[in-house]
Every structure is written in structure tokens, then in C-alpha cells.
Amino acid sequence: MEYVVQQALNALSIGGEYALLALGLAIVFSVMGLVNFAHGEFITISGYTMYALFIFAAPTSAWGLLPIGILASITAAVVFERLAFRPIRNAPATTGLLTAFGLSIIVKNFFVTVVATRSKAVPTPEFFTEMITIGTINIQVLQILEGAVTGVALMLLLILLRHTNIGLAMRAASTDFNTVRLMGIRANQVVLAAFAISGFLAGLAAIFIIARRGAADPFMGFAPVLKAFVAAVLGGFGSLAGAVVGGFALGIAEVVFQVVLPESIAGYRDAFVFLFVGGLLILRPQGIFGQSAQFGDKEG
């Protein structure tokens, strides 16, 4: 029983992390058709900003690093949009995807050159790693926080998307950007908002990723975002609800494979997870929430 609860919490916290990242990808994609492969770099930039602050400002408490980490991620998202993605906004989806790849390479190499290839320790509040005992079950604070923060973030996002003009505009833009502009809503603002939200969600995920690893390295953003991509495709690329469901589904699948696979082939976990996703996509190519019969949509 304890084991099951423990693993379920694991699935929930990993799934939450994927959901935050997948949602960021999906928001940007639904608004402007861009597959942002540089999304992982928001995490990396967040990590190194916290590292730099830790080294140069030497704060007494690690709590102070957290908002700065999130802010760095948002800033990075907005700057990327302005400098790299705006010039190619109307280009085919493939162009955007490859530009994002280029950006990702540049950012990684920046940290390799300026800092180092090796990872650098980044402190997070000790509170994160404390254990809470409920009945007979020990839970790490971090896991609870991850679930709770993901939940709150999703709620805030829902309110934003339902009850603010910019939120409505973002939802509307996913099907018809031009008509949104005919409402007098500035295209740049909608795109900027999408990137800022995407950066904010990545920043939240970054805090948890860093708390778990305790360090930043130039390639840290890649693996989680790769999973987030798979989660987004699983949910139906561009569907916001799909991204969340896909994220949690992937988290659950990972934990299940972790538990079920015998020791000798545990190293293949990711391969099994991806094969599982591939199998699902054969049955349902448009993903869980995607629209069917859209062959060719948003295609370069």
C-alpha cells in the first residue's frame, strides 16, 4: 500500500513537471504554430541565473533565488520571441522549429564556453527536501509542492484563458489569428503573452528540476523538454487540455515502466515509454485531444 501511494505520488510529481512544460509548448504552438525546441533553454537559463546570483550576490537564503529563476525564464522567452522568432513569424512551421534548434545550440554553447561543461551546484531551500510523515507514509515536501504548484498554475491559467481579453484572444488565435487582429487586438501582444506564460511555466518546472538535481549544466533542459514534446504529441499537439493530460499520462507511464520492468532491462525505460507512445499514436494519430482529419494542417 505504502509503495503504491509512494509511486502514485512519484507519477503525479513527474507528470506535473511534464505537464507544465508541455503546456508551455502547446500555448506557443497553438497561438503561432511554432514548435519551440529552445523551450528547454528556458530551464537552463533559469538554472544559470540562479547560479550566478548565488555566486555573485551570495544571498543568505536560497528562497530569494526562486523568483529570480522564474523571472529569468520569462525574460528569456520574451527575448527569444523578439529577436529570433518574430522575423520568421509567418514562415512555415519547419522554419520555426529549425530556428529554435539553432537557438538551443547557441545557448548551450554559450554556457559551455562562458561557464563550463561540468555542472555547477545551485542551492534550493532545504525545506524542499524535508520529509513529511502522514500515517505510515513518508513524502518529500518537494513532491507535494510540485503537485500543488502545478495545480495552482493550471487554475490560474484557466482563469486567464476564460476571463481576460488576452486569454480569450490567445484561445481564439489558435484557430484564426487574423480575425483576432480584426478585433483590434495587437498580434504582438498575444504572441508576447503566449511566450511569457510559456516562460513562466518553464520557470516553475525549472525550480523543481534544479531542486531535484541540485545543479545546473548546459544540457539540463534537453531531457525534460524532450519528454514534454512527447507528452504534447500524445495529448494532441496544440491542445492545451491535451498537453496537461499527455504530461500526466507520460509521468504515469514512466513510473509504471520503472516499477514493472525487471532490473536487467531498466535502462530501456525511455525506449519502452516512447515505443508505448508510438503505439498509441498508431491507434490515434491525432493524439488524445487532437482534432482528426487535419492532415496537413499547420504543416510547412
Binding site: 480569450l168 483576432v180 487582429r181 478585433m183 483590434g184 498580434a187
Partner: protein, 249 residues
């Protein structure tokens, strides 16, 4: 109010609109007629800034809006309902209308306009919390028009409001359109359905292969079978010709 001078629009090598000039005075309903592919949609899309202007000038009163962005032009009081309605299907009627009023700051005024417009278009009141894509074609067209009205435009351009609607609905839509004038809106209506449009318009322009072929009073055009046949290819009973769709992108 709106004056277009020698406006041209090109898509690559194709010139969709060639040196077109037209004028819409305050309080008028002007019909822009012509066969499919004549360049009507390109023309008003260029006016609103959705497609780039190759050459020429667009003035709104004293303001040059030739190369402004659509959102800035809308903020100056011009708007357009695109062809094929383009309502936001995933959003409710309510949310569609809120987006329509997104640029306005006067909350009380928005509320008042909303109530008045919903009284004029009662079906939207009934479907107020439904997702827009569940509305019928005629309801969606009404929604598109009301949504555009919510920004309280001075000039409203309607692109093929009768497209895809049953004949009895077409008349109803045009009747609604003519009542909009009473709310102080100037209208430029793009139509293939010349007969209906001319019943409600004050003046008309006929566009064909990207050029203006006729301009004058709506009655003059509607009253002359010769003119109708000559410019619109409309005989007594035949509908609009299916011209090549080449220029439409």
C-alpha cells in the same frame, strides 16, 4: 469617410487589384459587387491591412491608413467581418462578443451596446453560452456582425454576408444590415448576390478582374437589365457566373 486611391494588391506575380479608387461617405451603404475572383476580398483586406498594399493610398478621413496594421486600423474605427464568417468556434457566443469589444474601455457603454444588439439579434441571446461552432450558418453570420459592431465601428466592411445562407435568411441578414445604419454605422458590403445587395445599398461599385467597371447609384444599376447583364453577367434568371478563382488567395 473612406477614400481609396489607385490601390493595387499583388500576390507574387498575380495582380488581384489594379489601381482601384473608391469612396464611401459617412452614413452610406455602399455595395461592392463582382464575380468570384474579381478582387473584392483582396481590396477590403488591403484596406484593413490584412494583405499588403502594393501601391496606392487609403485614407480614413484625414488619416492615412495605407500601411497600418489591422489592429491599429480597427482602433481607428474601421472593422470587417471576414468572408466565411470566421467566428471563434471554440469560444462561446459571450466570449466572441467580449473579444469584439476588447479594445473598448467604457464598460457601461459596452454593456448598453450588448443589450441593444442582443435585442436586435434575439437568437444570440438564446445561444449566449453555447460554443459558437454549434450555431447554424445564419446564426454564425449574425454573431460575426454583432461581434464587429461591439467595437462600435464608424465603418463596417462586410465580406459576403449572404454566402452559404438559405434565400430567406439572406433577406433577413440584409434587413438587419440596413438597420445597423440607424446606429450610425457606415457600411461597405462586398457581395456576389447583387440583386439583394442593391435593394439596400445607396451606391454600388462593380469590380471585375481587379478593376472598377461601374460606379453609380444602386438604383441605376439595379434598374437597368443591360447594366446588370453587362457588368455582372446577370440575366433575368441566371445567377452570378462562376468566374475563375485565380486571383483569390
Amino acid at each position: 469617410m473612406l477614400s481609396v486611391d489607385l490601390l493595387s494588391v499583388s500576390y507574387g506575380a498575380i495582380r488581384a487589384v489594379r489601381e482601384v479608387s473608391l469612396r464611401v461617405e459617412e452614413g452610406e451603404i455602399v455595395a461592392l459587387l463582382g464575380p468570384n475572383g474579381a478582387g473584392k476580398t483582396s481590396l477590403i483586406s488591403a484596406v484593413i491591412g490584412l494583405v499588403p498594399v502594393a501601391s496606392g493610398k487609403v485614407m480614413l478621413g484625414d488619416v492615412d491608413i495605407t500601411r497600418k496594421k489591422p489592429e491599429d486600423i480597427v482602433r481607428l474605427g474601421v472593422t470587417m467581418t471576414p468572408e466565411g464568417r470566421h467566428i471563434f468556434g471554440d469560444l462561446t457566443v459571450d466570449e466572441n462578443l467580449r473579444l469584439g469589444a476588447a479594445v473598448r474601455k467604457d464598460k457601461a457603454g459596452v454593456k448598453k451596446d450588448l443589450d441593444e444588439l442582443l435585442a436586435m439579434f434575439p437568437i444570440l441571446q438564446e445561444r449566449y453560452n453555447s460554443r459558437a461552432q454549434t450555431l447554424s450558418g445564419g446564426e454564425q453570420q449574425q454573431l460575426a456582425i454583432v461581434r464587429a459592431m461591439m467595437s462600435r465601428p464608424k465603418l463596417l466592411m462586410l465580406d459576403e454576408p449572404s454566402l452559404g445562407l438559405a434565400p430567406q435568411l439572406v433577406e433577413q441578414i440584409f434587413q438587419l444590415i440596413s438597420t445597423l445604419r440607424d446606429r450610425g454605422v457606415t457600411l461597405l458590403v462586398v457581395e456576389q448576390n447583387a440583386h439583394e445587395a442593391l435593394l439596400f445599398a445607396d451606391r454600388a461599385y462593380v469590380l471585375s478582374t481587379g478593376q472598377i467597371r461601374f460606379e453609380g447609384a444602386a438604383g441605376e444599376l439595379a434598374g437597368s437589365e443591360d447594366l446588370m447583364a453587362h457588368y455582372l453577367g446577370i440575366g433575368a434568371e441566371t445567377g452570378a457566373p462562376d468566374a475563375a478563382d485565380a486571383a483569390k488567395v
